[in-house]
């Protein structure tokens, strides 16, 4: 079901406050009543200015192609993305290999302008194209016993040359709680700026969870497993004291090696000013209720 969450991409409009409030009401309605399909599309623009396409595609952490920020743009051309399928297994009614083309024929692609906050305290604003993860999970039929969703990136060291280094334990794996996965903000992105997903950004299909640090948004996904146990995640396995399972953007909880209170928007050159980091990356209204009663300091 597309258009459960709506924003507007015409960023050069100035946001009228009334319309912004309207969007919030829309969100509240969605969360509370699930009436999003009935809600009118928000008229106004978001006040976010998208980061330049060239910046989004030349500054990437995609360690499968190397550890430098420019390495993915240099090396990702080796990746072959056709044919592509996603194995969906575990606690689902219809497990199997889902060809990406079949999946896409059933989905409505939307545009979502999201803030993107890296755990390294830099940020961008990205106009993604994609569909809600929930729609894909519905295709496979999630069983009631499932509580978590595990994701896996392609492992193909011949094409993903960074996988020849022991930088991380390959393949990259990530996970979400089922309610996080089902949240209307959680996107399976197939493109950005209206173009097919650039290889360095996680072609052909990647996750985008805008209220979590970027490393949760796993790229080039080949497997999705529904499970009742919290799945292992790559950075948590690598440095458990620094990267937890939840990894929600939180200016109040520092990374052990740097503050998370502010971030550097990428693309502004030498004198780009830091901006304050927002709780849940600015999506507090939409997602805070998912963590009611949880100690976010412990569950970092």
């Amino acid at each position: 079901m597309a258009h459960r969450w709506t924003n507007d991409l015409t960023h050069d409009d100035v946001t009228p406050k009334s319309a912004y409030l309207n969007r919030r009401q829309l969100m509240a309605g969605m969360a509370g009543l699930g009436l999003a399909a009935l809600a009118p599309k928000a008229q106004a623009a978001s006040d976010l200015t998208p980061t330049d396409f060239d910046v989004i595609t030349q500054y990437n952490n995609f360690y499968e192609f190397g550890t430098g920020k420019e390495d993915p743009a240099k090396h990702a051309h080796r990746l072959t993305t056709q044919p592509w399928s996603i194995k969906i297994d575990g606690m689902v009614d219809r497990p199997g290999d889902y060809a990406l083309s079949d999946i896409l024929s059933k989905m409505t692609i939307e545009e979502r302008l999201y803030r993107f906050r890296c755990v390294e305290a830099w940020s961008m604003v990205v106009p993604w194209n994609g569909f809600e993860l929930k729609d894909l999970l519905d295709l496979a039929g999630v069983q009631s016993s499932a509580k978590y969703v595990a994701f896996e990136t392609l492992y193909r060291p011949d094409e993903m040359i960074g996988q020849k280094s022991p930088f991380l334990d390959w393949p990259y794996v990530e996970g979400l709680r089922l309610d996080e996965a089902n949240h209307p903000l959680t996107l399976m992105a197939t493109g950005l700026y209206g173009k097919d997903m650039p290889k360095q950004n996680g072609a052909p299909i990647r996750l985008v969870v805008p209220w979590k640090y970027g490393f949760k948004s796993i790229k080039s996904i080949v497997r999705i497993t529904l499970t009742d146990k919290e799945p292992p995640t790559s950075w948590n396995k690598s440095i458990p004291g620094e990267y937890g399972f939840y990894s929600n953007v939180n200016p109040e909880v520092d990374h052990p090696r740097w503050s998370q209170a502010s971030e550097r928007p990428i693309g502004g050159g030498f004198f780009a000013k830091r901006i304050p980091t927002l709780k849940f990356n600015g999506y507090e209204k939409e997602v805070a209720s998912l963590y009611d009663g949880m100690d976010l300091r412990k569950n970092y």
């Binding site: 280094s165 690598s238 030498f270």
Partner: protein, 205 residues
């Protein structure tokens, strides 16, 4: 051959070394403004200055073993290289403080509580008096204490290597290779000398 090279090395005036040394940060600045450092020139410049600073310090540590185990003699460059390295490390710190972290309360907090920043700061603070005493007057005034003081270079460079390892995210070989080279260059100085006296002194005479 070696003697010709050594003569050439000795003939290079110090001001030329300082000039060449100063062109690197100037080039970084130019490249950063013209897109040559990619879309995040701040981090690129910060990392480049730190890394090249460490490399120049390693070159400084290499001079004495080179003299001892080969006949190459770069001793006349050592002071300039040391001062240039300090200059890079200082700029590395300033870029981090002014362009990267920016917010002064956050800078203070980082210096006080982030272990990798603390290690880097200690290294920089050790280098400061060494740079300030890298002149003939200080050598005369401090006498034998000057040599003692400047042995702190080993600690400063080793801490620089540790700082490099501590700031990595996943596992990378490179910072460990740097630290291994630094520790190797320090250890090599402990090898027993074959004969009494200072062979380097004869060579330099």
């Amino acid at each position: 051959m070696i003697n010709t090279l050594n003569t050439l090395v000795r003939k290079v005036p110090n001001w030329l070394l300082y000039l060449v040394g100063a062109t690197y940060p100037a080039w970084l600045l130019y490249a950063g403004f013209t897109g040559g450092l990619g879309v995040d020139p701040v981090k690129a410049m910060e990392h480049a200055l730190g890394k090249v600073g460490l490399q120049v310090l390693i070159a400084v540590l290499l001079i004495s073993p080179l003299r001892r185990f080969t006949k190459f003699n770069f001793l006349s460059w050592r002071r300039a290289l040391g001062v240039i390295a300090f200059f890079y490390i200082l700029l590395h710190f300033l870029v981090w403080m002014v362009l990267d972290v920016q917010i002064i309360s956050q800078v203070k907090a980082d210096i006080l509580k982030r272990p990798y920043i603390i290690v880097g700061m200690i290294s920089l603070l050790i280098l400061l008096p060494l740079a300030l005493t890298s002149n003939n007057l200080s050598i005369r005034k401090l006498g034998p204490r000057w040599r003692k003081l400047h042995k702190m270079t080993y600690l400063a460079v080793a801490l620089g290597g540790v700082h490099y390892i501590m700031q990595t995210k996943g596992f990378e070989y490179e910072p460990y290779i740097y630290l291994a080279v630094v520790l190797g260059l320090i250890a090599i100085r402990k090898l027993p000398k074959k004969r009494a006296g200072h062979p380097a002194k004869r060579q330099a005479a």
